[in-house]
């Protein structure tokens, strides 16, 4: 970091913001103690996944798109699968659908606990990294590692392997687990449920900056269960649409300073918030009563508008994911088939699921042989980019009198509230504050 101070102009440059996935930069311009410009610059090269999906067989999309992210490959697989099933006109129900929720729960547990304990908690406790934090808070870090492990075990069992799983397919799975295999997970999940509850209680003891926004939250909703894999897309500001109407209401825009497209709401180009806080706000009623109670005991209402408290919400979602995994296992009856047939036709299919970081939309146009003619993927971080900028624009004035080093620290923390995955959106995040 270099820090030059002279007259009314100050320039602060930070070369590396750690604990986010991907390469990008943050630019803050401050004039007369007012924030006049905020840019989340993503300079990680475009990855062209949509381009090389074209010409591939529709059945290849789940395996190709799972390579987009090592943290949330299940989400990419699932959104691709739901889009392809939409195109084929089939709906997977019953035990196969339940197994998809179990698979997804594993990813939520693994991804969320990585962020809670290894990436985000050090911000609140004043450590530069989880390694430093582990020296003073070994119990917390070990709790996080234990939870992450059970999430990875679910992903390994359901996906064949935890990174870039290979077992999910259009129509179901290549192989479904035997009940005995699931029961082996059950004992571990019972322990994990205690650890997850402790995580909620522990996260609630952290100190949070007083900052709230009137967010437009967007997530899936089906009225019956906390959303993971299907539902309508709703917001707290009146939006209620089918997944295939997404393009009519949302628009990806290119901004010159970023290699990732920014997604905004039509027609005004407003920013919106996807992820744990959005899911929670729009689906609190779908949480089991004991988890609602745990959330309330942690100080949360039915809606959380303080992005710094997203760590508590994320912890509540870990508890939910563990409970949901247990529910699926306890009710599991092995399906008669591991998948149902999927016959492609010349049409466009739409799919959206709830990745750990938020809504993940896929759209594919197929020809009559099931060859992909066009693909569009809108990851959660692309949708949250403008929201992150907006948070900083509103948050920084509240701490404008603080030293630049503290503004930098808090701003980095504000970015990490979103657990941004820049690789998904297009690796380090540089923060630059320009005071004039």
């Amino acid at each position: 970091m270099s820090h030059a101070k002279g007259g009314d102009t100050r320039t602060i440059k930070v070369d590396y913001l750690a604990r986010v996935e991907g390469e990008g930069a943050m630019y803050l311009e401050i004039r007369d103690n007012a924030v006049v410009d905020v840019k989340l610059k993503i300079f990680e090269p475009p990855r062209f996944f949509e381009g090389f999906l074209r010409g591939r067989d529709f059945r290849e999309a789940p395996d190709i798109t799972s390579r987009i992210c090592g943290i949330c490959p299940v989400a990419y697989q699932m959104s691709a699968i739901y889009a392809m099933e939409d195109a084929c006109g089939i709906k997977v129900e019953g035990a196969l659908r339940e197994l998809r929720r179990l698979f997804y729960a594993g990813e939520w547990i693994s991804s969320h606990t990585l962020h809670i304990y290894m990436l985000h908690a050090p911000d609140f406790l004043g450590y530069p990294s989880a390694v430093e934090m582990a020296k003073d808070h070994p119990e917390a870090v070990e709790r996080g590692l234990s939870l992450k492990k059970i999430g990875c075990e679910i992903m390994s069992l359901m996906g064949g392997r935890e990174i870039h799983p290979v077992n999910a397919k259009v129509g179901g799975f290549f192989r479904v687990p035997a009940r005995k295999e699931l029961m082996e997970l059950r004992e571990k999940l019972l322990l994990a449920r205690d650890l997850a509850r402790q995580t909620v209680e522990w996260s609630a003891t952290l100190d949070f900056p007083a900052f709230e926004q009137d967010y437009t939250f967007v997530s899936l909703y089906n009225g019956e269960e906390y959303p993971m894999i299907d539902g309508r897309i709703i917001s707290n500001k009146g939006l209620d649409i089918a997944v295939n109407e997404y393009d009519q209401h949302f628009e990806e825009r290119h901004v010159g300073y970023s290699n990732a497209l920014q997604c905004v709401m039509k027609p005004k180009g407003n920013c919106y918030h996807v992820g744990p806080m959005a899911r929670y706000a729009l689906n609190f009623a779908q949480l089991p009563a004991d988890i609602q109670e745990t959330a309330r005991a942690a100080g949360l209402g039915a809606v959380c508008n303080n992005p710094f408290q997203s760590i508590i919400v994320r912890s509540v979602e870990v508890l939910y994911a563990v409970s949901e995994a247990l529910r699926v296992i306890d009710n599991y009856k092995s399906p008669s088939v591991s998948s149902i047939p999927a016959v492609p036709k010349a049409t466009t299919g739409y799919g959206a699921t709830e990745a750990p970081r938020g809504l993940l939309y896929h759209r594919y146009t197929l020809d009559s042989d099931g060859i992909i003619e066009d693909a569009n993927i809108v990851p959660p971080t692309s949708q949250n980019q403008k929201m992150i900028e907006d948070d900083l624009r509103r948050f920084v004035p509240g701490c404008i009198d603080k030293p630049d080093s503290e503004i930098q620290y808090l701003s980095e923390q504000a970015v990490r509230n979103y657990d941004p995955c820049i690789s998904c959106a297009t690796h380090f995040l540089k923060l630059e504050i320009d005071r004039k």
Partner: protein, 164 residues
Amino acid sequence: MTNTNTLIIGIGNRYRSDDAFGCIVAAELAGIASSDVRCIEHDGEPATLMECWEGVDEVILVDAVSSGAQAGKIFRFNLALEKLPEEFNLYSTHAFGVPQAVELARALHKLPANISFIGVEGECFNAGVSLSKTLLKRKHEVVAEILCELRKKGDVHARVISDG
């Protein structure tokens, strides 16, 4: 080393050219050392990596690195005494990879008493299933080096367990 257990962990991705270096070295060592020596392949995910070496007396980590050094350069570190250098931190998901796993284990007093790292600077990390010529050469050297160490300790057989 017949009275202790030894674990060789080849870290990498078999589908990213030179990143497969650790995996290929671990696989080559299969069937050579004693049953006290396990050779596994691992993707480098920290939590499961730490779990792999829990209760193991001696661990050798083998990995390809990308530090900016000349391709083929061999790095050796006694991790019980020293950290992996910062420049090895660049290529991991959420900046949380093998160096962090080692330091986290150290902080949690879960680092094996004997743990070493052999890294070789990679040349090509593009999608692909073949090592570059430079690393192919280094593979023979590193396998020979580890075998030499194991033979000094009396190991003559090994088995491979695929993990990750």
